[in-house]
């Protein structure tokens, strides 16, 4: 349902929200990159490894996530990501702010701004 209008007006917002969504996904479960891609693939935020790897490495550098190597049934070991304490607090802060933005959007135009 991504029209060209949405593409034009919301491209940078959707891009900017990706980090927030990744925090959410990692918070819910211990995941590796293919899991994240799969979960996002059916949403408005479908993305690719080429975008995700640099983002995850930045988040790790900022201390929000960490990974550990884990053997897989098929193929080579995989990096499983998890949130650090800092990542959890980032997620809480962003979630609160997101709720606040939504509230603003709902209230705007109703006469009390």
């Amino acid at each position: 349902m991504t029209t060209s209008l949405i593409q034009e007006k919301f491209a940078s917002i959707r891009k900017g929200l990706l980090e927030f969504l990744i925090l959410k996904i990692i918070a819910s479960d211990k995941v590796y990159v293919a899991d994240m891609l799969r979960r996002l693939s059916t949403t408005e935020f479908a993305t690719q490894e080429g975008t995700l790897y640099p983002l995850l490495s930045k988040m790790r550098r900022e201390g929000a996530v960490d990974y550990e190597w884990q053997e897989s049934d098929a193929g080579p070991p995989r990096k499983y990501y998890k949130l650090t304490a800092r990542g959890k607090s980032q997620l809480d802060e962003l979630t609160d702010y997101w709720a606040y933005i939504n509230q603003t959007l709902d209230n705007l135009g109703l006469g009390q701004g």
Partner: protein
């Protein structure tokens, strides 16, 4: 007959023909360019290589040992180009950078044409210093070289001719400029002078 190239992706060997190899090589070169300056560049490249390797592995079996160019192209399309988010280690300077400072002639408060005034604004110094420098250059030329100050005055006239006037308020603001951006008007002017000089030089021969 196609030549087959064996590559090593994260410790596993795969076979590509020449065309497929070229596609993969170009992709990885581009990824590295995108990640230049990123402290985790080599780790990200390793992650990408492993991902490519896993996808190759899925395509190969007992009767199939070579990944075709079409297959590697499809794999790389799935993975997508390496994109950095911009707010990390890979800053995109253009967006936030203030307008570049430029050299203009400024009429307001000018003694002759506003050249000294403009350069003074550019370097954020007193215009008198620039004027004195011109006069000193002229005097040195006269005393040291025993000739009329053709170079000093010639240079001044050239600048009058080449450096644009700050006509609009935006241009006056750019002349004062808060940033130490690229002085490309100056650079332009220098290049024009050089070009003219070269022209003269050629004519002289």
């Amino acid at each position: 007959m196609q030549k087959v190239i064996t590559i090593n992706l994260n410790g596993n060997a795969y076979q590509l023909d020449e065309q497929g190899y070229e596609v993969l090589r170009a992709y990885l070169a581009d990824a590295e360019a995108q990640l230049s300056g990123n402290p985790d560049a080599s780790e990200i490249i390793r992650d990408l290589e492993q991902s490519i390797a896993e996808k190759c592995l899925r395509l190969l079996g007992p009767g199939k040992t070579v990944v075709t160019p079409a297959e590697i192209t499809q794999i790389l399309r799935e993975i997508g180009p390496v994109e950095t988010t911009g707010n990390g280690s890979h800053p995109t300077p253009s967006a936030a950078a203030p307008a570049p400072k430029r050299v203009y002639q400024i009429r307001e408060g000018a003694m002759v044409s506003g050249v000294a005034n403009g350069f003074a604004a550019y370097f954020n110094i007193d215009p008198t210093i620039v004027r004195v420098a011109f006069v000193v250059a002229a005097v040195v030329e006269m005393t040291e070289y025993d000739r009329p100050p053709v170079l000093a005055i010639g240079l001044y006239l050239l600048l009058v001719f080449l450096v644009p006037y700050a006509k609009t308020s935006e241009e006056r603001a750019a002349a004062q400029g808060a940033s130490a951006g690229l002085p490309y008007k100056l650079q332009n002017a220098v290049e024009k002078v050089k070009a003219k000089f070269d022209g003269l030089h050629h004519k002289a021969h």
